[in-house]
């Protein structure tokens, strides 16, 4: 509160923030390249993608309901009342878990039926030679255009909401398209006919989905979001907490800033042919000389050869979506986690992280060396 007016008093402070956001974007792109397969689509794991779309929207509200009493313990005037109520209504919680499982199973069954309908529809579309790259480009263009229009038109508070909506919409499109691709593959191999889908395969997928959603909902989403919410409640009620926000408005402001920085960077610092808005120009690479293409590949290396049409085309959508997800993790950590003391921080850095990373490097080096897969010296 004290620093708030000072922080935004001069333009020179903006440099710090721009540097920070650029660093976040940079770090997230690097994590995506090193750990999340870069610009490749999640091959063979459309169930996983499906799961990542569904879990926040289904599991989190239910988990919030289940853990609501425990989160309200922290509110001072309600604390004793809620503790008493928890003691009294403790038998409800397993029932709530059962309800969650039932709702999940119903939703997943509905989704399987919807998949079936979609497949028949897409089979119809395949007869009229709907091409892959057009769908890719449509997804990318919708993502970029809707985001940028909303970014300029809406106020801050709505922007995050619309951003989430567009991300969800694009993920849904990608899911539909992924089902379509799977279908094409199976039809080519003559493994699958639409009329007799394997019932037991469906059931296996369903059980895995239910299990994974339950595990991820229990492990990941409750601590993160729940603690976020709890910190908000604690701050409003006037407890001294080490979390950052003192106001919901400024909290939203801090949430969206890195995203804004990301889109600024997308528009300003990338050349025009690396912008996702230009993803639909397939034949652009043939008009450039070789050096320009090399520069393009150096810049973001997105160049995919389509064996059907014998052309090279660009895909930015998966990469952008993955980077967005990592940025979201960075943003959420601001709200969810608490601050370290400086000596603790330095101790963590020098006494825990450095030895651990050294140990892991030695470990991986010995593994690689023992398997004889050491990189050749050029």
């Amino acid at each position: 509160m004290l620093g708030y007016n000072v922080e935004y008093s001069s333009v020179a402070f903006a440099l710090f923030f721009i540097g920070e956001y650029l660093h976040i974007v940079f770090a997230s792109t690097f994590t995506v390249v090193c750990f999340f397969g870069g610009w490749q689509p999640p091959t063979g794991t459309f169930e996983r993608a499906f799961l990542f779309i569904l879990t926040p929207s289904i599991v989190y509200p239910l988990d919030f309901l289940i853990h609501l009493p425990h989160s309200l313990e922290t509110y001072p005037s309600f604390a004793y009342v809620w503790l008493m109520l928890i003691d009294f209504f403790d038998w409800i919680i397993p029932l709530l878990f059962l309800l969650k499982i039932m709702i999940l199973s119903v939703v997943l069954k509905i989704s399987v039926v919807m998949q079936h309908i979609l497949m028949t529809y897409l089979d119809f579309a395949h007869q009229y030679h709907l091409n892959k790259r057009y769908i890719f480009s449509i997804i990318g263009v919708t993502f970029a255009v809707t985001n940028q229009i909303l970014f300029f038109l809406t106020p801050k508070l709505l922007f995050i909401l619309f951003h989430i909506m567009t991300v969800k919409f694009c993920l849904r499109l990608i899911f539909v398209f992924w089902v379509y691709l799977m279908l094409l593959k199976y039809k080519e191999q003559r493994m699958l006919h639409l009329s007799n889908m394997n019932k037991w395969v469906q059931s296996i997928i369903l059980t895995f989905l239910v299990g994974f959603t339950l595990i991820i909902g229990a492990v990941l989403f409750v601590p993160v979001f729940g603690r976020m919410l709890v910190s908000q409640i604690v701050n409003i009620s006037g407890f001294i907490a080490a979390s950052h926000f003192f106001d919901v408005k400024t909290g939203v402001f801090f949430y969206i800033q890195p995203l804004r920085g990301f889109f600024y960077a997308l528009n300003l610092f990338l050349p025009y042919f690396a912008n996702p808005l230009f993803a639909y120009l397939d034949n652009i690479y043939y008009t450039f000389p070789d050096t320009a293409r090399n520069f393009y590949v150096l810049l973001n290396g997105i160049e995919i050869f389509d064996p059907v049409t014998q052309t090279i085309f660009a895909v930015h959508t998966y990469f952008i979506i993955k980077v967005n997800i990592i940025i979201y993790i960075f943003i959420l950590s601001r709200a969810a986690l608490r601050r370290f003391r400086y000596d603790q921080l330095m101790r963590l850095g020098w006494k825990v992280f450095l030895p651990l990373s050294l140990l892991f490097t030695i470990f991986t080096a010995t593994l690689v060396f023992s398997f004889g897969a050491f990189p050749p010296i050029k």
Partner: protein, 106 residues
């Protein structure tokens, strides 16, 4: 050998440059923080590059065609995420801009 250009060195050099900028502006604390976590990120990256066997970004991505490295090297991924968080001087590690604590005691 142009693949060396597109590899990690750009990232490392940029990190070093941002360090120098912060130091130039007088935020020695954040510079120390960034340097201390830069070491661990660099070591993690070295281990990943050892596994992949190439410095080219395209090779690193092609290596993960079937399984992402976040699944096979999840311990490295966790370390990398936390140290990247600390490097960005943000959220739980944002001591240089922690107003309340700067005023209060530290």
């Amino acid at each position: 050998m142009r693949c060396l250009l597109s590899g990690v060195y750009g990232i490392l050099i940029s990190g070093w440059a941002s360090n120098s900028k912060y130091a130039f502006l007088g935020a020695l604390r954040s510079a120390a923080q960034m340097v201390s976590y830069e070491v661990s990120t660099g070591l993690i990256l070295i281990s990943i590059l050892l596994v992949v066997g190439s410095l080219e970004i395209k090779c690193v991505v092609d290596f993960q065609e079937h399984t992402w490295l976040s699944f096979s090297f999840s311990h490295l991924f966790l370390l990398f995420m936390i140290s990247a968080l600390a490097e960005t001087n943000r959220a739980p590690f944002d001591l240089p801009e922690a107003e309340g604590e700067l005023v209060a005691r530290l």
